[in-house]
């Protein structure tokens, strides 16, 4: 069971970053990096140590959708798994995120179970039981 993946959490609200960090820790993921904005996130991604990006959408400066697009444009980390974790819940927004290449879309307020299943869908080796299911619930 490999939960050693490095997860980068991007959200401009420090309280939300802290919540996500704690929930991930309770799920067994201990390698958590944080960024308060897209620009910082991009520079952290370029170090090549991040395995999963979890990002908010509504952020001043660079919205999460733009961060996602820039990630996908990169030749170094363009195929990085990206989970949107956001209060934005309009149909067209989810469609935009899907078109831009998001691997998952979690709507706030979220549950531990949802976060767990989305991550395990992307990293089957990190799940507890026999790694079978790929279905995204």
């Amino acid at each position: 069971m490999n939960r050693n993946i490095n997860i980068l959490v991007v959200d401009d609200f420090s309280t939300m970053r802290r919540i996500i960090r704690n929930i991930l820790r309770e799920l067994g993921y201990h390698n958590i990096l944080e960024a308060a904005d897209g620009a910082t996130a991009l520079s952290m991604l370029s170090t090549g140590t991040v395995d999963l990006l979890v990002t908010d959408w509504n952020m001043p400066g660079m919205p999460g959708l733009e961060l996602l697009k820039r990630v996908r444009e990169s030749s170094d980390y363009g195929s990085m798994p990206v989970l949107m974790l956001t209060a934005e819940a309009k149909r067209e927004q989810i469609v935009e995120a899907a078109r831009a290449g998001a691997n998952g879309y979690i709507i706030k307020p979220f549950t531990t179970a949802t976060l767990k299943s989305k991550i395990e869908a992307l990293f089957p080796d990190s799940s507890e039981g026999p790694s079978a299911a790929v279905g995204v619930s």
Partner: protein, 245 residues
């Protein structure tokens, strides 16, 4: 005699020649709204008519300004609204972080209890005394209960997500209030009434303040609310004692 000049508002600087267009344009050169036709080609007359117009405009702006309490809105009410919203953001941030501190401290305690209980529970052997059997059962209960407590702690954690959601909404409103604030300030600068007071020269309406104090103003917002606030529960108790309570 030249025909009356009517110029629809163009909003931009005058492009026409000065002799003809001076009757239709504002002193700073920009084209004004439709103006009544001015008779006579002489140079003196357009100037007098123009003065009447600008006086009327100044009068209208002055009345607009006092009827809408523009000054009070621009100098006090709207900036206060912005400060209050910012304060709410800070309060919710501090409260959520405080709760997260407590939860983060509680987790390891729960983990330790569970771990220790599991260690001790493993020591049971057949033929134990009744009291030991009871303790044994309790140790197993602890594991289940602590799991529940940890789940509760996680729920408390997730519930602090309100701060992010409310914060995003408040930030949106703050953006609007900031725009309104600067727009009102520009409006004041434009309207040529009495000399602009400095922002610190706020007139104090003591009666209004007293009435507000009696009705209740809500929590103190630094930078806005004047008047001494007690330092804490101890001070409040001491004050009451002074009055024999």
């Amino acid at each position: 005699m030249t025909p009356p000049v009517e110029r629809p508002g163009s909003g931009g600087p005058c492009a026409g020649d000065s002799r003809r267009d001076v009757r239709g344009c504002a002193p700073d050169g920009s084209c004004a709204a439709v103006l009544p036709p001015l008779a006579g080609p002489s140079v003196a007359e357009p100037r007098v008519g123009l003065r009447e117009i600008t006086d009327d405009l100044a009068g209208a702006l002055s009345r607009f300004r006092s009827e809408t309490r523009l000054d009070e809105l621009a100098r006090e009410n709207v900036p206060d609204a912005r400060l209050r919203l910012e304060h709410v953001l800070q309060l919710t941030d501090a409260a959520a972080h405080r709760t997260l501190d407590l939860v983060e401290q509680a987790y390891p305690i729960a983990e330790r209890i569970a771990r220790r209980a599991t260690e001790l529970a493993g020591r049971h052997r057949p033929g134990m005394a009744a009291a030991d059997v009871e303790v044994e059962a309790f140790l197993e209960e602890i594991s289940t209960d602590v799991d529940r407590v940890r789940a509760q702690l996680s729920e408390v954690l997730l519930a602090q997500g309100y701060q992010d959601l409310t914060g995003q909404i408040i930030r949106g409103i703050l953006g609007l209030v900031t725009v309104v604030e600067s727009t009102l300030k520009r409006l004041i600068v434009l309207s040529p009434v009495e000399a602009n007071q400095g922002l610190d020269g706020r007139p104090v309406d003591l009666e209004a303040r007293h009435a507000a104090m009696l009705a209740g103003c809500g929590p103190d917002v630094p930078q806005i609310d004047a008047g001494p606030v007690v330092g804490g529960q101890g001070d409040a108790d001491a004050l009451l004692r002074e009055f024999g309570r």
